[in-house]
């Protein structure tokens, strides 16, 4: 198997454009978390003409809500939730500079087109391996929507976070390739 591509944040457009569906990567740097409630609220903010609570420029957004950190730990278990639920809000965030997303599961046609248009990338993180994945997280703090409890937005410092490119910015889609290659 090909060695993983080592990448760092900020994930500039040049780095993103070099990634291809099926590549494994190890990501180090800053990652934001946000899922259903955060997306709905960001959508409402944009619709109402308000500023977003986070800077999305070239940001990496991880669809995740971890378990609470036990004493002595930075974070509890953490892993991806199903990305498709974020699809209706995603093109709007990509227009505002969002560079990459981490989640699990397939994206809509609209999201895949927006990924192509903005030179973005969608990474898959293996689902259900959240105790192991928590080892990649070195720092974590809440940065927005604290009242949403487990769905608050966080900023994480991650090291060697293992991911797979699902959708690249030239139309590549790992899940579709898998589908096509099945007899």
């Amino acid at each position: 198997m090909k060695q993983p591509v080592v990448i760092h944040t900020p994930l500039d457009e040049r780095t993103r454009r070099n990634l291809r569906a099926g590549d494994r990567v190890l990501l180090t740097g800053t990652v934001l978390t946000g899922r259903d409630v955060a997306h709905r609220r960001m959508y409402e903010a944009v619709t109402a003409g308000r500023d977003l609570p986070v800077d999305l420029d070239n940001a990496v957004l991880f669809y995740a809500a971890p378990t609470p950190a036990p004493p002595g730990r930075v974070i509890g278990s953490i892993g991806p939730t199903t990305s498709g639920r974020m699809d209706r809000y995603t093109p709007m965030l990509l227009e505002r500079g969002l560079g990459a997303m981490i989640g699990k599961g397939s994206r809509s046609r609209e999201v895949r087109d927006a990924i192509d248009r903005h030179g973005a990338v969608y990474f898959g993180a293996p689902g259900g391996v959240a105790a192991l994945m928590s080892r990649c997280v070195r720092e974590a703090r809440i940065i927005a929507y604290e009242d949403a409890g487990p769905e608050a937005m966080m900023e994480l410092a991650v090291v060697d976070f293992p991911l797979v490119v699902i959708n690249d910015c030239v139309g590549g889609d790992l899940y579709e390739t898998v589908n096509r290659e099945t007899p």
Binding site: S77, T81, K104, G128, A131, G149, L174
Partner: protein, 283 residues
């Protein structure tokens, strides 16, 4: 007259708490065994990589007392109460919810339950979904299942008609898994409930998920055969571990059945991710 046996609901609460804590941290040895067997048989490189992560996670979670998955689930509880049992010391439902509340607080588990419309979190992972059956005897059986949202969201049910028959059931189950694709965290366990009414089919499907994975239906050889055929058809889809493509999409298919109306053929498909968590105890 048979004598009644007293069981304190506070004992039930304590057991519910213990079972949820254990279920969320330690995967059953039977589930682990089928995962390891599937890893060894996996042809796809990315699929094998995904399986390696899955197996390593099981070890890390147990060693570090961390939840296997960040989605520590909606608390589903099946209770069989012997009709000679007399529950004392308070309400049963309150006791179960008390056990769930303590498990999710003391275990540092995620609280994943909210108001469906406002989406405001209830804050303590209650209320649990509780199913109660009254059975003969003087014992109480508790079965707890923390059920993740990602796989539950991919579950479906349909009111097929008698003319759809077994072939219609097979098409429907395989199509449900195909459409779920990578979303429910494969490799999955597919629970199929046939017959009954709309709600009964769904409960039958969910109960099959507590079976040891791959152990065939022992009541009806027709269903054991259907399980084998469905497993082959599902794995021929090639979705693979985490949807990265590969030999194993489902670890097992479990089918169970109850009689239904002469006009109906209800089928429920309850999908379980690879973190197939359940624990049971008899008091």
């Amino acid at each position: 007259m048979g004598s009644s046996r007293e069981i304190s609901v506070s004992l039930v609460a304590d057991k519910v708490k213990e079972l949820f804590v254990e279920a969320n941290r330690t995967l059953g040895a039977d589930v682990r065994a089928v995962i390891e067997a599937a890893r060894d048989a996996e042809n796809s490189e990315l699929g094998r990589w995904a399986f390696d992560q899955i197996v390593e996670n099981i070890d890390v979670a147990a060693r570090d007392s961390l939840p296997l998955c960040q989605d520590t689930g909606l608390a589903v509880v099946f209770i069989e109460i012997g009709q000679d049992v007399h529950l004392v010391g308070g309400g049963l439902v309150e006791a179960v919810n008390d056990g769930v509340r303590r498990a999710y607080k003391e275990g540092y588990f995620r609280k994943s339950v909210c108001d469906p419309l406002s989406r405001v979190n209830t804050g303590d992972n209650t209320p649990a979904v509780i199913h109660v059956d009254i059975v003969p005897g003087g014992r109480l059986r508790l079965l707890v299942m923390p059920k993740g949202g990602g796989s539950e969201n991919m579950s479906t049910m349909a009111m097929l008609t008698p003319s759809d028959g077994v072939e219609g059931i097979k098409r429907y189950v395989v199509e449900t898994v195909r459409r779920a694709g990578p979303n429910p965290c494969p490799p999955i366990i597919v629970g199929v409930g046939i017959g009954g009414s709309m709600e009964a089919a769904a409960i039958v499907a969910k109960k099959t998920l507590a079976r040891s994975p791959g152990r065939p239906n022992e009541k009806d050889p027709r269903l054991a055969a259907l399980e084998r055929e469905l497993l082959d058809d599902i794995n021929a889809l090639g979705i693979g571990a985490e949807g990265y493509g590969g030999t194993t999409t489902a670890l097992a298919v479990h089918v169970d059945m109850i009689p239904c109306h002469i006009a109906s053929l209800p089928v429920a498909v309850n999908i379980q991710c690879h973190v197939a968590r359940h624990r049971e105890i008899i008091i």
